[in-house]
């Protein structure tokens, strides 16, 4: 037989070439070629061996793998001259073979995958053998048996591969034919049964084969298998050496099959893994689908849970058409049942090919810094059935760095339907930046799985394996922190101190909802909220105008906002009374998007009495004194996570600032006291009454109560204007002891009324319900201010008078005599001027840039102690610059300044002309 010859020849050739081959000094090309040839020889040899094995009935032992099927079924049957017939004494062997055939049970594949086994024969052996025999011996006897079904069998036999339909029909026929006992006694005419064919072939081979090795190989199944392994390994190794990895790997698969059959699962799994890796890597799914179940079975037998699960997942992620849905469900149930059992190792299972996810189409979700949210993710499930995930975690990857962003956890059990699912994740606050989806991890029972693939949109796409990364789209944008709301005081001008005043706080959302916001109010020292009064809140009508004023970004927005303001009906304006609960106010819903004003009744307490100033110009009062602060904390945002803290300064003030001046002092110790009232607030004040409470030392002159004539009242004082009152006082005789006492203050009382708007500034105080009846003159407020009146008011003992200059105008460079007259107004008492009294120290002070002083600047003059004595001090000086300049000043260092009355009282100026043009230059020679 040709097969035998080929096997022997191949083996011989392999041996011969191996001996000849020296792998040291050959080109790589040659080396490859050598290995390839050897691989070819081995594989040819292997195929022939398989064919022989099949002929003698070892077909059940041959793995029906694609490679075997392809090589055997496409190869025609050997065409011996005479098909062997069964020897006479072989009945027992026939029985054995028949038993073997009957015992043959098709191996049930794992997961209940049922496939039609791949054919190993080009045509059915029984028919082929019988037909050959009959055509040789009885002519066309085949037609006797098959004629009615197919009359063209003769043709079919010659071109078997082309007639697959015929094969099928025959197979059907055969199953009955060969098992039914033949009716013919004649061994030649009777069609042979399969077992008989096997036996006949075996006998014929035994006769043919001269090689004892080969005989031994074919004598038993075990020996055959051993040789088969040897040949397969040889072929695989050689192909690997020749870089024909696909050939080699396929043969590895064959080795694996044998190992598997023998129970050597470890080796089998390794080889299968190689095969799967090749097919999976190159994406040949049809082929992968064939091998993968076997690998899974090996792994299951090996208790390789991770590998087994991975294989299951890979099976599931193969194209849906490759497996029946029932099979796919079996894969899934396998995964689930394993997942719910005790898992020994917790390696995350990669299900990227099975569970894919993507963000929702459309622009990425935008969040402000610190906000929480809900992220909705589309998850595609490749499982054939619903699958329950015990938890799901999604990581976000920041695009700006490699750090993992936050983890989103959805700990609820989620049921994934096959296909598209939408899952929402609660989103904790994230750092600013933009994020893409990272990895999806989750649990099925004890099993951790992770998926890091993205699908763009459809399930069709998710099936497709891409070798390169898809561009990822940001799914979440978290903005940098920016002001989201603003709190400011609505009024900047002063409010009345010690009275309950409304303070307005403007709460302005900046493109952010203040829904459910809570404002904490914490007043600073010296400030208290009238809690008995409710807090008013209204929409801020100024906000619209304000935004118009500030919005200079574009006319369009300006116009639209104006238009919106104009057409907004009155109903749009909200007003609500709120209650302060433990320092907190909750915002109503309408205030969530519009700017609103919160009016809080508040009272600033200052127990210091207002103090009038006595000089001509009102001295600036320290603003800080009357400044009060109020700390505000606004909590808003979806989960009150946004906090805006601010401190607002409020300026409080008395209604008036009082300054006094003694307008005139008469000889009879009557004083005319001018009281100037400066309005300090931005409101109209009406003075209804004013009176002075004088302390000892002063009494009211005239009628007695010292009130200005009431016909002048009410005296209306406009904002920031001033008014004067004149009081007539006279001095009382005092004893010396009184002077040492600190003089008690004189109090100026002013009863007034205020008319103002709370949106502008000071306004009438909030009427308190509780103490409404306490004051009948409820509307009139009383302002008390202390005035300093000291007893020796303006009683100097010396008068210094600057005498007029001799000529109207003095010129630069011209000598002038400055004269002062010093006069003693009254007797100096002993204790005030203790030293020798008739000597008086004087000193001339002048700016040396402007004046040149000739003579003594400092000296003593004698002045008589008597009242009325006078002396003139003169000094020669020369102005240096032109203009209005201060003249030199005469000071008396030895005498207290308060006892000197100057005339003119304050600083004064003298006019100095430029130097006269020198005429000497103009005199003609």
């Amino acid at each position: 037989m040709r097969e035998v010859w080929v096997i022997t020849a191949c083996l011989a050739l392999v041996d011969a070439t191996s001996i000849q081959y020296n792998d040291e000094d050959v080109a790589p090309e040659t080396e490859k070629e050598f290995y390839r040839v050897q691989g070819d020889l081995y594989s040819l040899c292997r195929i022939k061996l398989l064919r022989l094995a099949y002929l003698i009935g070892y077909g059940t032992e041959i793995e029906r793998s694609p490679v075997n099927s392809a090589s055997l079924s496409m190869l025609p049957w050997p065409k011996p001259a005479v098909w062997p017939s069964v020897p006479d004494d072989a009945t027992s062997e026939v029985v054995v073979k028949e038993k073997m055939i009957l015992q043959e049970t098709p191996r049930v594949k794992h997961f209940g995958i049922q496939r039609k086994p791949l054919p190993l024969e080009p045509t059915i052996l029984v028919r082929e053998a019988n037909q050959r025999r009959s055509s040789l011996s009885v002519g066309n006897s085949s037609e006797i048996f098959y004629g009615r079904v197919e009359f063209n069998d003769g043709l079919a036999a010659d071109v078997p591969a082309k007639m697959p339909q015929a094969d099928k029909a025959h197979e059907f026929m055969m199953s009955r034919t060969y098992s039914s006992p033949g009716n013919f006694d004649c061994s030649i005419g009777r069609p042979m049964r399969l077992a008989e064919i096997f036996v006949a072939a075996e006998h014929a081979l035994k006769k043919t084969i001269s090689n004892p090795d080969l005989q031994k190989i074919l004598s038993s199944v075990e020996n055959f298998e051993q040789k088969y392994m040897e040949l397969t390994k040889g072929a695989a190794d050689n192909y690997h050496h020749s870089w024909w990895k696909r050939y080699g790997v396929v043969l590895d698969g064959e080795i694996a099959a044998v190992c598997f059959k023998r129970g050597n699962f470890d080796l089998a799994a390794k080889s299968y893994e190689k095969v799967c890796a090749l097919y999976a890597g190159e994406g040949w799914e049809d082929l992968l689908a064939e091998v993968l179940p076997s690998l899974a079975e090996c792994q299951k037998s090996l208790n390789d849970e991770a590998g087994y699960l991975l294989s299951c997942v890979r099976l599931l992620s193969l194209d849906k058409g490759l497996f029946l849905s029932k099979e796919r469900q079996a894969f899934q149930s396998e995964v689930v049942s394993l997942a719910h059992n005790e898992m020994t190792n917790h390696v995350p299972l990669d299900v990227s090919s099975l569970i894919t996810f993507s963000g929702n189409p459309g622009p990425p979700m935008a969040l402000c810094d610190g906000d929480t949210g809900t992220l909705s993710v589309t998850v595609w499930s490749g499982f054939p059935d619903d699958i329950t995930l015990d938890s799901l975690t999604l990581t976000l990857m920041a695009t700006y760095n490699a750090d993992e962003g936050g983890k989103l956890r959805n700990s609820n059990a989620t049921v994934l339907k096959p296909g598209r699912n939408t899952i929402t994740f609660p989103l904790p606050p994230q750092k600013p930046g933009s994020y893409v989806l990272g990895v999806l991890t989750g649990h099925i029972g004890q099993l951790t799985f992770r998926s890091h693939s993205f699908s763009k949109g459809g399930p069709a796409d998710s099936d497709d394996f891409m070798s390169y990364e898809k561009p990822t789209r940001p799914i979440l944008k978290v903005f940098k922190p920016r002001p989201l709301a603003d709190l400011s005081a609505s009024i900047s001008s002063a409010l009345l101190i010690n009275e309950t005043q409304w303070i307005g706080i403007i709460a302005q959302p900046i493109n952010y909802s203040l829904k459910g916001a809570v404002l904490h109010i914490d007043t600073g020292p010296g400030l208290m909220i009238e809690e008995s009064h409710s807090i008013e809140m209204e929409s801020n009508k100024k906000a619209g105008q304000g935004s118009v004023g500030t919005a200079n970004s574009g006319d369009a927005t300006k116009d639209s906002s104006v238009a919106a303001k104009d057409c907004s009906p009155a109903a749009d304006k909200h007003f609500e009374q709120l209650c302060l609960v433990s320092g907190k106010i909750e915002f109503p819903d309408w205030a969530s998007d519009v700017s609103s004003i919160l009016w809080i009744p508040i009272r600033a307490i200052d127990d210091k009495l207002a103090r009038g100033s006595s000089s001509g110009a009102p001295e600036k009062q320290s603003i800080v004194d009357r400044m009060r602060t109020i700390a505000l904390k606004l909590e808003f945002g979806i989960s009150k996570n946004q906090i805006y803290d601010t401190t607002i300064a409020l300026h409080f003030s008395d209604p008036f600032h009082v300054s006094t001046r003694v307008a005139n002092q008469c000889n009879d110790s009557t004083l005319l006291l001018q009281v100037t009232l400066h309005s300090q607030v931005n409101a109209t004040l009406s003075v209804y009454d004013a009176w002075l409470d004088l302390h000892d030392g002063f009494t009211h002159a005239g009628q007695g109560n010292g009130r200005p004539i009431s016909a002048f009242f009410p005296l209306v004082i406009s904002p920031s204007s001033r008014a004067g009152l004149l009081f007539c006082l006279c001095l009382e005789k005092r004893t010396a002891e009184d002077e040492n006492n600190v003089p008690p203050e004189n109090i100026l009382n002013i009863r007034y009324e205020i008319a103002g708007d709370r949106t502008i500034g000071a306004h009438p105080p909030v009427t308190m319900k509780s103490n409404e009846n306490a004051e009948d003159t409820s509307k009139n407020l009383v302002f008390r201010s202390a005035l300093v009146l000291q007893q020796p008011v303006l009683s100097p003992c010396l008068a210094v008078g600057f005498l007029p200059l001799p000529s109207d105008s003095i010129r630069v460079g011209q000598l002038v005599t400055m004269k002062w007259r010093v006069e003693r107004l009254k007797d100096i008492e002993e204790k005030r001027v203790p030293q020798n009294n008739d000597k008086m120290l004087y000193e001339i002070n002048a700016n040396s840039d402007k004046w040149m002083i000739a003579g003594r600047k400092r000296g003593h003059v004698s002045l008589d102690m008597k009242q009325g004595s006078r002396i003139v001090i003169s000094i020669l000086c020369m102005p240096l610059v032109a203009g209005y300049i201060h003249p030199p000043h005469l000071g008396l260092p030895g005498i207290d300044e308060v006892s000197i009355s100057c005339s003119p009282a304050g600083c004064h100026l003298v006019r100095v002309l430029p130097p006269a043009p020198s005429s000497s230059f103009c005199v003609p020679a």
């Binding site: 694609p66 099927s69 496409m74 192909y239 870089w243 891409m466």
Partner: protein
């Protein structure tokens, strides 16, 4: 027209991106797998042969009993592999050339990612028509 023919386009990454059974014979249940198997194995030979010639059409590179594998390699190393049992080499060459044109049109589609599966039904119809015409 051949009775058995299987046409596969294999991307440069060895991934089959298009498969078609273009034979006139009725499809056997196991045939697809066998054909895939044969063609897959032939990739080994293509990888050797492709660099030995500048021609795109590599002619019949592998024989599997009575089935022949013809291969056409494009400039981008995409391989058109045809498993057939006819001897009409000219027809096969024309078939490959026309399919190459179609393939280029597919590549020019901006929505097609090179290396991904060709799902265009138009392409499929055209390829089958070409197979009827030339094979």
């Amino acid at each position: 027209m051949t009775s058995t023919a299987c046409f596969i386009i294999v991307s440069r990454n060895d991934i089959p991106i298009y498969e078609a059974e273009v034979g006139s014979a009725a499809k056997r249940e196991d045939a697809a797998q066998l054909h895939q198997f044969v063609l897959h194995a032939a990739l080994d030979i293509v990888q050797d042969l492709a660099w030995t010639t500048s021609a795109m059409f590599l002619k019949a590179i592998d024989r599997f009993n009575d089935l022949v594998v013809s291969v056409y390699v494009t400039a981008g190393h995409t391989r058109f592999m045809l498993l057939h049992d006819s001897r009409n080499e000219d027809g096969i060459k024309s078939f490959f050339q026309e399919v190459h044109e179609l393939y280029i049109k597919i590549l020019l589609n901006p929505l097609y990612l090179p290396g991904s599966r060709i799902t265009s039904s138009h392409f499929d119809t055209k390829v089958r028509a070409l197979a009827r015409k030339y094979l």
